[in-house]
């Protein structure tokens, strides 16, 4: 299973974490990543309103093309985890859940982290890399 990159967006749609794990994606400038995050946040909001599935409550969850697959997990508090992976990957849910667990541990329990601000927690990055790198 190859995970290409991870993005985390806060409640307001701002990018708080971005990390590439593989060279499969083109490198963008940091401004481009911010624009990407903001755009996705808007698209997600719109899709949650026009969803044809009744009472689904959520917005865009999976975006698949022939080059990549993007999965979005929105928590109950509005934080969004975007995982970019190779197409036809099963079990990305497991990865997303585990990343959420790592976030809840090493970011939320860190007294030096300010909520909704960019994530600069060394323990989070260390554990994230240790979890994802062996899978490549």
């Amino acid at each position: 299973m190859v995970i290409l990159s991870l993005l985390i967006l806060n409640k307001a749609g701002g990018l708080i974490f971005q990390r590439d794990f593989n060279e499969g994606l083109k490198k963008l400038s940091s401004n481009d990543y911010l624009v990407l995050a903001g755009t996705f946040h808007g698209v997600h909001a719109i899709t949650s309103r026009i969803s044809p599935v009744r009472d689904s409550g959520g917005g865009l969850e999976v975006l698949e093309s022939d080059r990549f697959r993007m999965q979005c997990f929105q928590t109950l508090t509005g934080t969004k985890f975007l995982i970019f992976a190779e197409p036809n990957q099963p079990n990305i849910d497991v990865v997303v859940k585990r990343v959420y667990e790592l976030y809840a541990d090493y970011v939320m329990k860190n007294p030096f982290y300010q909520i909704e601000m960019p994530i600069r927690c060394e323990a989070f990055e260390r554990n994230l890399v240790a979890y994802i790198k062996p899978k490549q």
């Binding site: 541990d105 860190n110 030096f112 600069r120 323990a123 989070f124």
Partner: protein, 234 residues
């Protein structure tokens, strides 16, 4: 505050001794002004009128606490201290004080639990062994990872913890890299030493290695009097 007014005043008279209570034997809800029956629950008092001071001291001996709950509480403690200090040394001192008050009580409890077989520690090695095994096991459920004596100074000893539990979720930002939140545990150790009449200073220092990035050394520096006493005892 008169006892007869307990139904109309919003304050519930507090007394840890149930025999002092007068007035209605049913639980008095603090905010309602009705003649209440015992159906309305009052979180502060159990129905048998016992407070936590009436519980047996061994009741919590085998109970465990969720690590996440403690992590959140400790995180808030660190943030609370950080707002009130200016400087890393002050922050460590504040955490040390928090740990100190816990260590005082913990020492009493552990010695009481040892019961008749308890031996009062008079030698440095004895009290350090007590901390490494008994105290550490009661808090973290495992003994500390090492105990060393400093070669350069007579009065310095080092207690090693490869992965302090209080630091497991904390990432200190680069500009505060000197800070080690295990100063809290250092305070607990200092209180236990002070209570056993080994006055000194305990500080926490991080010594990360390849395999153990969170390794912490507690540097215990005893006072002059302790070293003198130790040399007299032979």
């Amino acid at each position: 505050m008169q006892r007869g007014d307990s139904l109309s005043s919003p304050f519930v008279p507090f007394s840890p001794n149930p025999s002092i209570q007068q007035g209605t034997p049913t639980s008095t809800p603090p905010l309602k002004h009705t003649l209440s029956s015992s159906t309305s629950s009052n979180l502060r008092y159990s129905s048998s009128r016992k407070s936590i001071y009436d519980r047996h001291l061994n009741r919590s001996q085998r109970s465990e606490l969720s690590k996440a709950s403690f992590a959140f509480l400790f995180g808030e403690m660190v943030q609370y201290a950080q707002k009130r200090v200016n400087g890393i040394a002050d922050l460590e001192k504040k955490l040390n004080l928090h740990g100190y008050s816990i260590g005082q009580r913990l020492l009493e409890l552990l010695l009481w639990r040892e019961g008749r077989s308890a031996k009062r520690e008079t030698r440095i090695l004895g009290i350090l062994q007590f901390i490494t095994t008994t105290v550490y096991r009661s808090i973290f459920n495992k003994p500390a990872d090492g105990l060393e004596k400093s070669r350069d100074n007579e009065d310095e000893y080092m207690l090693i913890d490869n992965d302090p539990m209080v630091n497991s979720y904390i990432s200190v930002p680069k500009e505060m890299s000197q800070l080690n939140c295990a100063a809290f545990v250092a305070g607990i150790i200092e209180a236990v030493l002070d209570g056993c009449l080994f006055p000194g200073r305990v500080t926490a220092h991080s010594v990360p290695t390849e395999q153990l990035p969170a390794k912490t050394v507690f540097l215990i520096k005893f006072d002059e009097s302790v070293i003198e006493r130790e040399s007299v005892l032979g």
